[in-house]
Amino acid sequence: MSALRPGVAELDLPLFAANTGSRLAAWLAACIAITLLLTAASLLIGTSSLETSLGWLLNPDAQSSVILWQIRLPRTVGAWFAGALLGLAGAIAQGVFRNPLAEPYLLGSASGAALGVTLSLLAADASLGGLAWAGKLGVTGAACIGACAAIALTIMLSRGVLATASLLLAGIVVAFLLSAVTSLLLLSKPDVWRAMQAFLLGNTGFLSWSSVGLLGVVFIVCLLPAVLLSRGLDALSLGEDTAQSLGLSLPVLRLTLLGVLSLATATTVGQVGIVGFVGLVAPHLVRETVSVNHRQLLIGAPLCGGALLQAADLVSRWIIHPAELPVGAVTATVGGVYLVVLLWRRNRHE
């Protein structure tokens, strides 16, 4: 019998596995549970000892409640949102560029943000004592504007968003160019250079409730269009010609998703600096553990990224206690090791 002639038994085969939904639900529930656990743990871990923190929780006074609810809680919630935005941006980047190694900063946003921060710090240099407030107000705005400008420059250089390869190339060129300008500017100002390092390595220490609010609003604004357009990313995974032949407008899809990607990255960079690897690793972790289409990936990657950055934040506070590591150093180390393991496992399979 020909392979193409169906048998009777084939007629009622299922189209979609019955257990996919429940597996995904279990996975999402696990992510949320981990997030809640990490949030609770983050209230207890800080410069004070564990016993002191526990005492604060049980017998709160005015000073301790400020530490717990105005410093530690917004920091961990903000870390979650920042990680979630990076996870979302990473998933979008990997979908739009059809490349599993794409990451949120690939349009040059990180170097643009760094240049923006450098310029703002140099401007505030006249009164270097005012760095504290500049770090709170000027830096976030400057980073955001710098990131947006860099992305705009990248898109201009590649003359639009249609050619993926030239877009990626333009991103690399812009990143190198802006980094070079930043380095030149910093050569003469060693003290500004030190302040810059804190930003470049990522820092969750500045997060307040107002930054949480901003990150939260941007997260919702980014998540909605991304999920609505997720089927377009599914189609795009079959190739650009195929996606177009299915009746999809590639320019609309690309422009919208790159807009979302830029907004998510610029906001995050402004609030927590340059945190590497979360945006790259989070979508990978989702794909490795559950079978997903893009709608599921765009919901799963933020949940995963949020938990990752929260965990990294905790580790950064705890590992050289009572001092703190920059959170970006933690994510880079853990993420780098994870990628090496991933590559090694892939190579073994092939």
Binding site: A3, L13, A17, T20, L228, S237, L248, N293
Partner: protein, 282 residues
């Protein structure tokens, strides 16, 4: 799939263009396509009717893929027009056109989706962005997967399938569109000969049974000779368009490949024979 027949019957366009005959489902006039300074197709005019499987053959670089891409509206021609049911391709609304003209690329990207999800994408032009699967979409997915024999691995991820299995899923994706015109760029690559034969039978059945206008580039000459009609391309453009018998009578293949192409007829089947003997003797 009866609705496809009504599609074909209604093919006589409401506002027929002066250029194309009303019977042609897909036609092109003076189609010229180039990349940079190189002209690949120069002034090609064709009328392709519904209910036939037409194979596009020709040597490498003769523009088989380019012709199919231009017919599918994926390349903007330098000159000339392509019309679907007598209406110029560009004037069709995007989604409406996608419901009537389906396209299978030569190599699809590696996707993380399951087989049924991939086939479900063929319903995009019908169901839209939100992917709210209606029962008619599920029925179309099931029909297409049954027809290509890919239903048994509907729930598996594309990455876990063999090349041949994957190709049949992609073919089901094209059929799930239930379009009146189906263009396929080398649909039998990655397949072993018996499975190539299966795909050929499937294309023929869809064309004859459902009245689909089926056009495919086919590398294998023997396989292409099992089609209803041939479009033969040479290095310098169109050699001919007609039935297989006409192509053989005019020796179009020898002209296209610039070498003697021997065709043997065996029990009603045409077979291409490599001219090995002649080469060794020489």
């Amino acid at each position: 799939m009866n609705n496809l027949q009504t599609f074909a019957a209604a093919a006589a366009p409401a506002a027929p263009s002066t250029m194309s005959q009303p019977t042609a489902m897909l036609s092109c006039r003076d189609l010229t396509v180039g990349y940079g300074t190189r002209t690949v197709l120069d002034g090609i005019s064709l009328d392709i009717s519904a209910g036939h499987w037409t194979a596009v053959v020709g040597p490498n670089g003769s523009g088989k893929s380019t012709l199919l891409r231009a017919l599918a509206g994926l390349t903007t021609p330098g000159r000339g027009t392509v019309s679907l049911r007598g209406r110029v391709l560009e004037s069709w609304p995007r989604r409406e056109r996608a419901r009537r003209l389906a396209w299978l690329a030569q190599d699809a990207g590696l996707t993380n989706l399951t087989a049924a999800e991939v086939v479900g994408l063929g319903r995009f032009a019908h169901s839209g962005w939100l992917a709210h699967r209606r029962s008619e979409d599920d029925a179309a997915i099931r029909r297409a997967m049954l027809a290509t024999g890919s239903l048994p691995w509907a729930t598996r991820r594309m990455t876990t399938l063999s090349g041949g299995e994957r190709q049949r899923v992609l073919l089901a994706r094209v059929l799930a569109v239930e379009a009146a015109v189906v263009l396929l760029d080398e649909p039998t690559t990655h397949l072993d000969p018996p499975h190539q034969e299966d795909i050929a039978r499937l294309l023929r059945d869809q064309a004859h049974g459902c009245g689909v206008c089926m056009v495919s580039a086919i590398h294998d000459l023997s396989l292409a000779l099992t089609a209803d009609r041939l479009i033969v391309l040479g290095d310098h453009g169109l050699i001919g368009h007609g039935t297989v018998r006409e192509a053989l009578a005019g020796d179009w293949l020898s002209a296209a490949f610039r070498t003697r192409v021997d065709i043997i007829e065996h029990e009603g089947v045409y077979l291409w024979r490599p001219a090995l003997a002649a080469a060794t003797r020489a």
